[in-house]
């Protein structure tokens, strides 16, 4: 009887441990990074969860680093940056903003866009979370094409104020990238293309 109870207890403990591991957001990383690094990432994810930030993108960032075989310190730095950027984005976005918008805003911050610029864009599209997300994505891509962040933010702000559809945002991004590849300066390309889109949309 004692033996059966003992083994039952062992079995229960093993099952509960397995369940706990399965629930860990970084369970997939077990054995692929050091235990200390995984603990640090788990703590960062816990702290993000505690303040209402989405944890999926944070765990994905860690997994991406592991997959790319970068060192643990760099993974922790990247995860910590993302948590900070998500938290900053949360302060300027409407409470009801979705995860996609929050991540897009964090990426824009990562690209070099200022918090003030993010707030201006959020104010330009207060009730349209999807349009705001597209705006942030377009903004980050423009900055990645060497367009100055403030100029890019002003262009996107104008488009959001005029309720530009997603196709217009995509068209602006593609046209500016094409013009830059053709040898135009990023500032000129942005100004010219933004003007054309704004004229087609009319007044806000």
């Amino acid at each position: 009887m004692i033996n059966s109870r003992f083994f039952a207890a062992i079995g229960m403990t093993a099952l509960m441990s397995a369940a706990a591991v399965a629930q860990s957001p970084t369970a997939e990383l077990e054995g692929r990074i050091s235990a200390a690094t995984r603990d640090t990432i788990d703590r960062l994810i816990d702290s993000a969860r505690a303040v209402g930030l989405p944890t999926g993108p944070i765990a994905a960032k860690a997994a991406e680093g592991v997959l790319k075989k970068v060192d643990d310190a760099r993974i922790i730095r990247a995860v910590r940056n993302l948590v900070r950027q998500l938290a900053t984005a949360r302060t300027v976005l409407p409470r009801e903003s979705g995860t996609g918008t929050l991540v897009a805003a964090a990426n824009a911050l990562q690209a070099g866009v200022s918090t003030r610029a993010l707030a201006r864009l959020a104010a330009a599209s207060p009730e349209n979370d999807a349009a705001l997300a597209v705006g942030f994505v377009t903004l980050a891509d423009l900055v990645a094409s060497n367009v100055p962040p403030e100029a890019a933010a002003s262009s996107i702000e104008q488009l959001l104020q005029r309720r530009a559809p997603e196709t217009q945002m995509a068209a602006l991004r593609s046209a500016v990238a094409r013009d830059i590849q053709a040898g135009r300066s990023p500032e000129d390309a942005l100004a010219t293309r933004t003007k054309a889109v704004v004229q087609s949309l009319g007044r806000p």
Binding site: M12, A60, K68
Partner: protein, 186 residues
């Protein structure tokens, strides 16, 4: 030991010890009062139900069932969360359906090709591509909500960017990702 010690006692003391050791029968008055009190006392509410007792194997089986139920609830909650995000992202673009995005990669000599990216949390297992009939091209279709996704192929265990897609510098890890934009309908 005790018996041997008692042999050392005097006969008088040995008799006294023997009397003390005998159970003194309770008096008739005490016994009747006890029986009366027991009969008069209300039946306790606690302990009158069935006593539950399970075998260890039953307990383990129950634990497994409860954990399975818990896991199902978690999966459902996660699925709902994803559905909400999709709904949010497509509110304005008037498309609540995910687009089936086709990813292809030419690698005739590869043994395995998988897809990893934002859409699968960069999980190492990745989404496996299947070799097409021509034997050169690997293909997979992934349902994706409107948005921007960074991704890469994993060819025989090594990351390989999509040569046919735009690239985005990944400053966090000093690498380059491929990028796909999924647009919603309007």
């Amino acid at each position: 030991m005790r018996d041997r010690d008692e042999t050392l006692l005097s006969p008088t003391l040995r008799d006294a010890v023997g009397e003390l050791r005998d159970d003194a029968p309770p008096s008739d008055i005490w016994r009747q009062r006890l029986l009366h009190d027991v009969a008069a006392a209300p039946r306790p509410s606690v302990g009158t139900g069935t006593r539950w007792s399970v075998r260890p194997i039953t307990a383990i089986a129950a634990a497994v069932v409860f954990m399975a139920i818990g896991a199902s609830v978690t999966v459902l909650a996660t699925a709902n969360e994803k559905a909400d995000v999709t709904a949010d992202a497509t509110t304005d673009v008037k498309s609540d359906a995910k687009a089936r995005v086709r990813f292809t990669f030419d690698a005739p000599s590869a043994t395995t090709v998988a897809l990893v990216g934002d859409f699968n949390g960069w999980a190492a297992a990745g989404l496996p591509l299947r070799r097409s009939d021509d034997g050169r091209t690997w293909v997979v279709e992934v349902p994706l909500a409107p948005g921007r996704y960074a991704y890469s192929f994993v060819v025989d265990g090594k990351l390989a960017p999509d040569p046919a897609a735009p690239k985005a510098r990944d400053d966090d890890f000093g690498t380059t990702n491929s990028v796909v934009m999924v647009r919603g309908g309007e």
